[in-house]
């Protein structure tokens, strides 16, 4: 899209390459040891169970994809219903379905041909996390994201990630088993996400990712039952955006490692809100369902326009501006 725009505006071939580089550069981000061409990633669990699908998201404008959270063994997840729409978002309890890390290596290979892949993993203890992360590194992941926050899988996710001590010990176990950056994805179902963030930082995380879904439930009045087979689920989408922005703002104020913002982003303005709150990069989940993969391109173009209207030369210049 960007190169197309420039081709039209500057028909002279000689200028093309340089301008192209400048335009790309404006959305480029560097954080920790990573460099991404675009600041928006695909969030874990959304269309990232297969290699081709992940590749599609990168081609649609994602700066990277985060894989579905992967465990040691194949897992079918919860029985249907695992998902339902609600006002302002979705409630889901997929139950961490995944083919297991061995088989997932093949999907990674396909995705990596398109661009950077962050490997998301879940386990029930520090050792599982360490083993899975090492495998993700072998598969070529540019970073590993620890799912310490899924609110609806017994014995995993938020059940272990609500306790700062666990967060710290899992992160540091993983840290000593891989060389790639380790990110901790935090739960908002806590009285202090900042404490969880500090624990992750202390454990050696290179970034924290906030937020995962909010604990939620949907009941059918006529059928007198919780709709999801797991009864409980997690709320995502525009409904949770103000909660995510607040979490990022708080974390940015308390930590010195970068924060990745996620929760309800569906257009450039939402993305800008997260960046200004202090996110160094962001992820898009539910909006890929409502708007389709083209949401990445739309956000990229919108951000570029906003940046030139408001005189930001790079994404980094936007990060945390609303905190000043």
């Amino acid at each position: 899209m960007i190169s197309l725009f420039i081709t039209l505006a500057h028909p002279k071939g000689v200028l093309l390459r340089d301008l192209h580089a400048v335009a790309m550069g404006r959305l480029e981000i560097t954080f920790g040891r990573l460099r991404l061409e675009r600041p928006g990633m695909l969030a874990s669990g959304i269309m990232d169970e297969t290699g081709d699908s992940m590749a599609r998201m990168i081609k649609s404008g994602a700066g990277a994809v985060v894989t579905k959270s992967i465990g040691l063994e194949p897992r079918p997840g919860h029985r249907n219903p695992t998902f339902t729409e609600v006002e302002g978002g979705y409630v889901n309890a997929m139950g961490l379905p995944n083919p297991g890390i061995e088989l997932f290596a093949e999907e990674m290979e396909i995705a990596l041909r398109a661009g950077p892949v962050v490997g998301s993993v879940f386990g029930s203890n520090a050792k599982d996390f360490a083993v899975l992360s090492a495998r993700m590194e072998d598969c070529g992941a540019c970073a590993v994201e620890l799912n310490l926050s899924c609110p609806h899988a017994e014995g995993y996710g938020a059940e272990i990630g609500s306790d700062p001590k666990n967060v710290r010990s899992i992160v540091s176990a993983v840290k000593s088993s891989v060389d790639i950056p380790v990110w901790a994805k935090l739960t908002p179902n806590t009285s202090s996400i900042v404490e969880l963030g500090r624990a992750a930082e202390d454990g050696g995380a290179e970034a924290v990712v906030a937020i995962n879904t909010l604990k939620a439930m949907v009941i059918s009045a006529e059928l007198r039952k919780p709709v999801l087979s797991n009864r409980f689920g997690g709320l995502s989408g525009p409904a949770i955006k103000p909660v995510g922005v607040r979490a990022v703002y708080d974390l940015r104020g308390a930590l010195s490692i970068p924060v990745v913002g996620v929760g309800g982003i569906s257009n450039w303005r939402d993305a800008a809100e997260y960046l200004l709150a202090g996110a160094s990069a962001f992820q898009v989940g539910s909006a890929v369902g409502t708007k389709g993969p083209k949401v990445f391109g739309e956000i990229n173009r919108g951000l570029e326009m906003f940046m030139s209207d408001h005189g930001y030369g790079s994404i980094a210049e936007m990060v945390g501006v609303a905190r000043e």
Partner: protein
């Protein structure tokens, strides 16, 4: 994202064959031919079903093959059922086109709304006479409705694709629409290519969200629930999974043949 789920009351139930029923309900969600809904049976499962009627009164036509589909067929008039949808892209048919609909088994359910809108020629194939369904409905809208059975108990003796080939040779169709078992659709696509006729086929994969979010229903890079379930000639050509591979609930590859 609003109004995407609704609890409706069953207002009509018709037996179509030994194991297949049509359930009717009032629901004024807008829908196009070829779209489907996710149907919840509390305590059992939630499964995708095509809409076999798409007006203010809508319907699903369900073949009982396992726990969920049989539970749906146990519903009675007056019972409530929670639906999500309508989902998917549906058929996209230009008015001017000369269309042939080719159905295998209960797949005819997904084609009825398109047959109604276009009045197109229709082939309904099944294993035996008792499994030919909705031919009476198709006849209301279409002058030419042909049947085929594997055992020759009714209409053409052979499968629907063989019959379709014959019809394509006789008449100049612009477009073939189809729904049925994947192997059948695979050969239907081949037949269309041979005859240089465009086709749009409705495919199936295991579905969880139905809404293009979870990524469990992928065929290559496309979501059957959102980018499909109806795919056109070119998309089908590009789908290496078509007729060859699907994924199980864990996301593992399973070979179809």
């Amino acid at each position: 994202m609003l109004h995407v789920s609704e609890t409706v009351k069953i207002i009509g139930k018709m037996r179509e064959s030994k194991d297949t029923y049509t359930l009717e309900f009032k629901w004024d969600a807008p829908a196009v031919p070829g779209q489907f809904v996710m149907v919840w049976i509390p305590g059992v499962d939630e499964v995708p079903m095509s809409l076999s009627r798409i007006g203010k009164i809508k319907a699903i036509t369900v073949k009982g093959i396992g726990e969920a589909s049989n539970a749906i067929n146990d519903l009675q008039v007056g019972d409530y059922v929670r639906l999500r949808g309508p989902y998917g892209n549906g058929f996209s048919i230009k008015k001017s086109k000369k269309v042939l609909a080719v159905a295998g088994g209960v797949g005819v359910a997904a084609l009825i709304p398109a047959i109604k809108e276009t009045g197109c020629d229709t082939i309904i194939g099944a294993r035996c006479e008792g499994e030919i369904i909705l031919d009476d409905v198709a006849r209301k809208y279409s002058k030419s409705v042909w049947t085929s059975t594997d055992d020759g108990s009714r209409g053409f003796h052979g499968n629907a694709v063989q019959l379709a080939k014959k019809k394509m040779a006789l008449r100049d169709y612009d477009l073939v629409i189809g729904c049925g078992p994947e192997v059948m659709l695979y050969f239907l696509h081949e037949a269309c290519k041979e005859n240089d006729v465009e086709c749009q086929l409705s495919l199936e994969r295991f579905m969880k969200c139905g809404a293009g979010v979870c990524g469990c229903c992928m065929m290559d890079r496309l979501r059957v629930c959102k980018d499909g379930p109806v795919f056109g000639t070119e998309e089908l050509d590009g789908l290496s999974d078509f007729g060859t591979r699907k994924r199980d609930e864990c996301g593992r590859i399973v070979d179809l043949r």
